[in-house]
């Protein structure tokens, strides 16, 4: 599978580093996952989820490409989220968790064959490391392996490994990037770092992006100051979108819904009538039911992670949290379902006795003389006096219709 293509919209970066010719001999290996216990939401690595229109994985690939690094390979321990990253310029492979690090080593060896240095990222964290500066420092120091550290001293899973030091690289990758047995030089990075350990960190990254504390920018058109809308999104005119908010591509916001306080709806999300999305992120393909109050939460994959209560719960009721579909047959299916719902009524009508128009009787009122001279009872039609259901027939004819 290929990765890395850009949408027609902006990729979401404020200032991209121009491609550096000095990094042509450098290749990159991006590892997604590798730690099954943490950095996940619903079994998927947090790096695969969209943040304001583009996933951390895709944004990392954008940074790598912007730094002028040519070939990149991506290895993940889970299948990509639907519809999956689409692109043309890098290989995407999936390995089972038990053979993830061996597969990473194999990929590293194949990448290092024709390059001077291989950058190894593990996502994990969103780290805005200046890759050019890091590689320059490694070149100057002559270190076999260099690891980026944040300004607070946290070790980041960003490594520059020289192609010549295969044994050290093997020890590092087999040890799941723990560098106890390998000499590793430190590169201090002063860029923004979010470790993305918990779903709450994904929410913090979204808020930091709204506050422009990091390089991430929303992918979409800024409709009003602080309100971004992706292409194909539909917002009901009675819905309220308050800044800062992000409505992703092909989202639907129904009548009387409110999206506010740094909330984001990722692509194909749907918010039903009168629901409030307050300080929350709704992940891609998620449908939030009508009349709900989603506050300080991360919603998606039929789960809700409440930041206030620091708990994740599975919601099995599609009336509350469900999924949307974008398959081309969805409109056809919904039309078919509508037709099927009409069928019983139609069949009932077809099978019932044909409706016969009541025989137009001579209306007694029409012939009953109103004049006192003609009010003689003998002149009144006999039928009008003897038919006890006259009134009932009239009532049924007009009332039922």
């Amino acid at each position: 599978m290929d990765l890395g293509g850009r949408n027609s919209e902006s990729s979401g970066f404020s200032d991209l580093t121009p491609p550096a010719s000095g990094l042509r001999g450098v290749r990159a290996l991006v590892l997604v996952g590798g730690k099954p216990e943490i950095e996940r939401f619903g079994e998927f690595p947090l790096a695969q989820f969209d943040v304001l229109g583009r996933s951390v994985l895709m944004r990392t690939l954008d940074r790598i490409r912007a730094a002028g690094i040519g070939e990149t390979a991506v290895l993940s321990d889970t299948e990509p989220l639907p519809p999956g990253p689409e692109s043309v310029s890098c290989k995407f492979s999936v390995a089972k968790p038990e053979c993830f690090w061996n597969e990473a080593l194999r990929l590293f060896r194949s990448l290092s064959r024709h390059s001077e240095c291989v950058l190894v990222f593990r996502l994990g964290a969103w780290a805005e490391v200046d890759l050019t500066a890091m590689l320059n420092e490694q070149q100057r120091s002559g270190a076999a392996i260099m690891r980026a550290h944040s300004r607070r001293g946290e070790a980041l899973d960003v490594f520059a490994i020289s192609s010549g030091s295969q044994s050290e690289a093997a020890a590092l990758l087999r040890g799941e990037l723990r560098n106890e047995r390998v000499a590793v030089a430190v590169h201090k990075s002063y860029g923004y770092v979010n470790l993305l350990l918990t779903p709450a960190d994904l929410r913090i990254l979204t808020l930091d992006a709204f506050a422009r504390d990091c390089e991430i920018r929303p992918c979409g058109r800024e409709l009003r100051p602080g309100v971004w809308i992706g292409s194909g999104a539909r917002v009901h005119r009675r819905a309220r979108i308050l800044a800062p908010s992000f409505i992703g591509r092909f989202c639907k916001v129904h009548r009387a819904a409110i999206v506010t306080r740094g909330s984001s709806l990722e692509h194909h999300a749907e918010v039903d009538c009168a629901t409030v999305i307050d300080n929350s992120s709704v992940l891609a393909y998620t449908r939030v039911g009508a009349g709900l109050d989603v506050e300080c939460s991360l919603v998606g994959l039929n789960q809700v992670h409440s930041l206030q209560r620091n708990t994740t719960v599975v919601i099995e009721d599609p009336h509350l949290i469900g999924t949307t579909t974008t398959h081309f047959s969805a409109p056809l299916l919904s039309a078919a379902r509508w037709c099927v719902s009409l069928m019983p009524g139609m069949l009932r009508k077809l099978l019932s006795e044909p409706r016969t128009e009541p025989v137009a009787r001579d209306r007694p009122e029409a012939i009953v003389p109103s004049t006192p001279a003609l009010s003689d009872s003998s002149l009144a039609p006999v039928e009008s006096q003897t038919d006890p259901y006259r009134e009932m027939a009239e009532t049924r004819r007009y009332g039922n219709e």
């Binding site: 109050d293 809700v304 209560r309 708990t311 719960v313 919601i315 009721d317 009336h319 509350l320």
Partner: protein
């Protein structure tokens, strides 16, 4: 002032979907039909609750209120808390950390909110003695 009516604590089952809610309602219905029922639902075991479950809680509260009684919730599991928050129904109930607290809350004649504005001198004196 102490009330002499009994307070019934009922443990809500693990799953409260449409089917389970119906079964649970049949169990609870006789309790709701008493005069001025005082009920506490213990939701500590609840791991799954859907819209039907929330509907059941609201129905029980409504029925209790119709007979001048009250329904209080206690020991909410994280799942129940999140679903009640999500459906905006949490604010309609009095929620307590434990069933014992909920039962104790029925003991006072005045509800907590009213007690704030019309303090009971006898109770305050008692609290003062305890503090001393």
């Amino acid at each position: 002032m102490e009330t002499s009516r009994p307070v019934v604590v009922k443990r809500v089952p693990e799953s409260l979907n449409l089917k389970q809610a119906r079964v649970f309602l049949e169990e609870v219905r006789p309790l709701l039909e008493h005069d001025r029922p005082q009920l506490v639902f213990d939701l500590s075991l609840v791991h799954r609750i859907d819209a039907a479950g929330v509907d059941l809680l609201l129905y029980c509260m409504q029925e209790a209120a119709r007979r001048d009684g009250d329904l209080k919730l206690a020991s909410l599991s994280p799942h129940a808390q999140v679903v009640l928050d999500l459906t905006r129904t949490g604010r309609l109930f009095e929620i307590f950390a434990s069933s014992a607290d909920a039962v104790r809350s029925f003991g006072g004649y005045l509800p907590n909110m009213v007690r704030q504005f019309h303090p009971d001198p006898e109770l305050e004196a008692k609290d003062g003695r305890k503090a001393a």
